[in-house]
Amino acid sequence: QEQSKSAAKEEGTSTKELKKVKIMLDWTPNTNHTGLYVAKEKGYFEEQGLDVEIVLPGEAGANQLVASGQADFGIGAQESLTQARVQGVPLVSIAAIIQHNTSGFASPKDKKIDSPADFEGKTYGGYGDPVEKAVIDSLMKQENADVENVNIVNMGNSDFFTAVERDIDFAWIYYAWTGVEAELRNQKLNMVYLTDYSEKLDYYTPVLTTSEDKIKEDPDTVRAFVTAASKGYKYAINNPEKSAEILIKAVPDLDPELVRASQKWLSPRYQDDAKQWGVQKLEVWENYASWMMDNQLLEKKLDAEASFTNEFLPEVKE
């Protein structure tokens, strides 16, 4: 493996100059990003003539830097992209990393929150965004419960585990990371997934992003990038263990156990029921935007068609 990689590298450098490209993550590296690390490690990017640098976001945040061209690509999410585009930030989603929304409301088992109706009388810990209330409301409406009976508390930067130790009954998490961590800790969780209760809330999170300018001026690079990333994710789908090790090797400061467990959980969910990794559907974009409009969370209507594109994904070989 090592040899093949270095061979690929030499080949790449000898044949033509690699194009330097930056991708900025949305958060610290985690299993959402495995495909990128695989593509880098396995030389898929080099095959495409790219020299990719994976940049950690820090305080600067990926979206603005991608939109302004400082980073060529980034990781984003449909929710933030929707708001960003409405505010005029020229970001475009070029691939859905995970087909379905894996987030949901988690609570320790002993809180006995099995469905949205049980939210009543409980305390929710969030970060103060009105979207949260709307989401909870949407779920609870399905079971004729009232969001006004939920005590919503802003828990700021506190993480899930801290919060539920103190005052908070349930919080919104990504199962692939926080939920898996709970498993590792033998903390039994109840999960109320968004997708189980609302079609409209099955949005894409996370997604690969780039700027409108990039697509216009350098579509080849975008295509190359997406092709390599797609190959990386395919590898991760087929080889959860190996790809987990690749991520651990690339970012040794992560907790390896968590990465392995999380990867195992997440690998089958990258593509899920789609016919190809990364494809996005117009209705998903429209659904979420209209849901936001319905809840007065959006000032303007979103041009859903301009928000994403599937055109850079490799042709599906049936």
Partner: protein, 254 residues
């Protein structure tokens, strides 16, 4: 008032100039609003968001005050104790420095677990922010007493407490105010950061929300208020300083 105009016109002019420059370059260079909104856009948003903003502003003002006052009292208290008890000083000085090196991301969960999501953990965060410059500046000020006067006090049998109250403290006042000024400057940002610990009101909350929904104009509105608050606060300290240190020879003013 007249005095204010006399002193205030220079900085005001400069700031207006900078704003004009900013506005101009915003328009000329076509900087997108989501990256760096122009002053006029910010101003528009100030007017629009005022009714929403009020509550946040008041919450932050309250927090800033409480935090700054706690921080000052603790800073001055710590400096006093450490000054009067040199052995205690030697012992806990490193701890004080350590206290400034615990990042909020670590402190926050601990504070939340111990004290919940109320105002207390926030006040603790601001206090931690503010007390340090005050304590260090005061300690250094207290050590600088003129020997001549100290000797006199010792000779006439003044107690340690009397020397402290009648000599070292008034002598250290300029240093103390130096520390207070630094702390006052930090206190508003301290309050904003502490609001990230949780809570439903405050400029900090408003700002994170604005930032996560790409309302850069609103982020800058927050900054505008932070800056105004801070300047007000700072000038209050300067005024207090001027009131308290009246005996200074006029010559200084040249």
């Amino acid at each position: 008032m007249k005095r204010w105009i006399q002193k205030g016109w220079r900085p005001t002019t400069l700031i207006i100039l900078l704003l004009v420059l900013w506005e101009g370059s915003s328009r000329w260079l076509d900087i997108p609003a989501w990256l760096l909104p122009s002053p006029s856009q910010i101003w528009k948003e100030v007017l629009v968001s005022w009714s929403d903003f009020q509550g946040h502003l008041l919450a932050t003002i309250r927090l800033t005050f409480i935090g700054f006052i706690c921080g000052s009292i603790i800073g001055l208290g710590v400096a006093t104790i450490l000054h009067l008890m040199p052995k205690v000083r030697e012992t806990v000085y490193p701890l004080i420095i350590i206290s400034q090196n615990i990042p909020t991301i670590v402190l926050a969960p601990l504070l939340v677990i111990w004290f919940g999501f109320g105002i207390l953990p926030k006040v603790i965060v601001i206090t931690l922010f503010c007390f340090f410059p005050i304590a260090i500046a005061t300690l250094d000020g207290l050590r600088q007493t003129t020997d001549e006067l100290k000797h006199y006090m010792l000779m006439v049998g003044a107690s340690k407490g009397q020397i402290f109250r009648k000599l070292e403290w008034p002598h250290a006042l300029p240093s103390i105010f130096s520390g207070l000024k630094i702390a006052a400057t930090y206190s508003v940002m301290g309050a904003v950061i502490s609001e990230w610990l949780g809570g439903n009101h405050g400029i900090g909350v408003f700002m994170t929300l604005a930032s996560s929904s790409f309302r850069t104009d609103r982020v800058f509105v927050s900054i505008l208020y932070i800056v105004i608050l801070c300047l007000l606060f700072f000038s209050m300290i300067v005024t207090a300083e001027r009131r308290l240190i009246r005996w200074k020879p006029k010559g200084e003013k040249r």
